[in-house]
């Protein structure tokens, strides 16, 4: 069950643009963190941040592929209504393909969020990591049956990450950390909105816009970090 098919036709292109923008922001954060990992003399915390964002970025890559496949399929179906365009075999392989890309999107997204959360935990037993990975696999399996499972799990992880950033802001007083908290809160809210897409596709549009707001805030932090370096120098 793929929630992406709830997008109204006219919103197909904007939704692909939003996902592509999110993908670019995530990739930039991952790349920047990797650059700092090399600059800092291989400080592991930068490597972990880079890996967490790379996982989420990879998930968006698969979301984009799923989206493109769905929209292309819809386009072919609606543009040639009188001609039978698909054999049963091609429909089956198409469904298998979108199921696979959707599964990869869910798994990588949840793993990325969990990994990001675990960076901020001082000490975590290895057994806990295995347990969480197991739960992520279970969530991925059930998300294929019912997409709510993915959005609920994602919402929980994103809310915990937002709280973590607000706690860090209380400690360091850095306004960027507060913006980071708001960015993850926005993405968490978008997950709630995604849960209602089957009621009305307006929720899909709203969810995508709120998600875009979250990624715009992340982009703003990136810009500020780079500009801060230039200004201070």
């Amino acid at each position: 069950m793929i929630p992406l098919k709830y997008s109204p036709g006219w919103f197909n292109f904007p939704s692909i643009f939003i996902d592509f923008f999110s993908f670019l922001v995530l990739f930039s954060i991952s790349l920047m963190s990797l650059k700092y990992y090399n600059l800092s003399g291989r400080n592991k915390k930068y490597k972990y941040i880079s890996f967490a964002f790379l996982l989420i970025c990879a998930s968006f890559f698969f979301k984009l592929i799923t989206n493109l496949a769905l929209y292309y399929h819809e386009f072919v179906r609606t543009s040639k209504p009188t001609i039978i365009t698909s054999t049963l075999e091609t429909i089956r392989s198409y469904n298998m393909f979108t199921d696979l890309t959707f599964t990869l999107f869910v798994f990588l997204n949840l793993m990325g969020l969990y990994f990001l959360y675990s960076i901020y935990q001082e000490k975590q037993a290895k057994s806990m990591m295995f347990l969480i990975t197991y739960f992520v696999i279970i969530s991925t399996y059930f998300s294929n049956l019912n997409y709510y499972v993915f959005h609920i799990t994602s919402f929980l992880l994103l809310t915990i990450i937002s709280i973590l950033y607000f706690d860090r802001y209380a400690e360091n007083g850095n306004p960027h950390t507060k913006v980071l908290g708001f960015a993850f809160s926005s993405i968490a809210i978008s997950q709630i909105l995604f849960m209602f897409v089957s009621l009305d596709n307006v929720f899909f549009i709203l969810a995508e816009i709120v998600q875009l707001l979250g990624y715009l805030l992340l982009f703003l932090i990136l810009r500020r970090v780079v500009n801060y370096g230039k200004k201070k120098n």
Binding site: M32, S33, K35, Y36, L39, S40, G41, N43, K45, Y46, I49, I119, Y120, L164, Y165, R168, Y169, E171, N172, N174, H176, T177, L180, I221, R224, V225, V226, Y228, G229, K230, K232, N233
Partner: protein, 90 residues
Amino acid sequence: MERKRTRIDIIHDMIISIQKKGGKIKPTHLMYKANLSYNQMNSYLEELIEKGMITKVEEKNSTYFVITEKGCSLAQKIIEMKSFEESFGL
């Protein structure tokens, strides 16, 4: 409790100290400004000169260390990195 300075923190402090002095500093000033021992300072200076971040110049019987373009660029990257680190609460 203050955390121990890392290698990159020390390089950052040295480069910022030189910049604050207008891009040119005497070794003794650098030692105090960057809070380093004589041996520590020499070992870092050797590395920074070798990598072309700073150069050693002699003027009126005094030794100075001058920051290069490459050194300024490194300072910018380190400031960026520190801002990233603080922003992400690392």
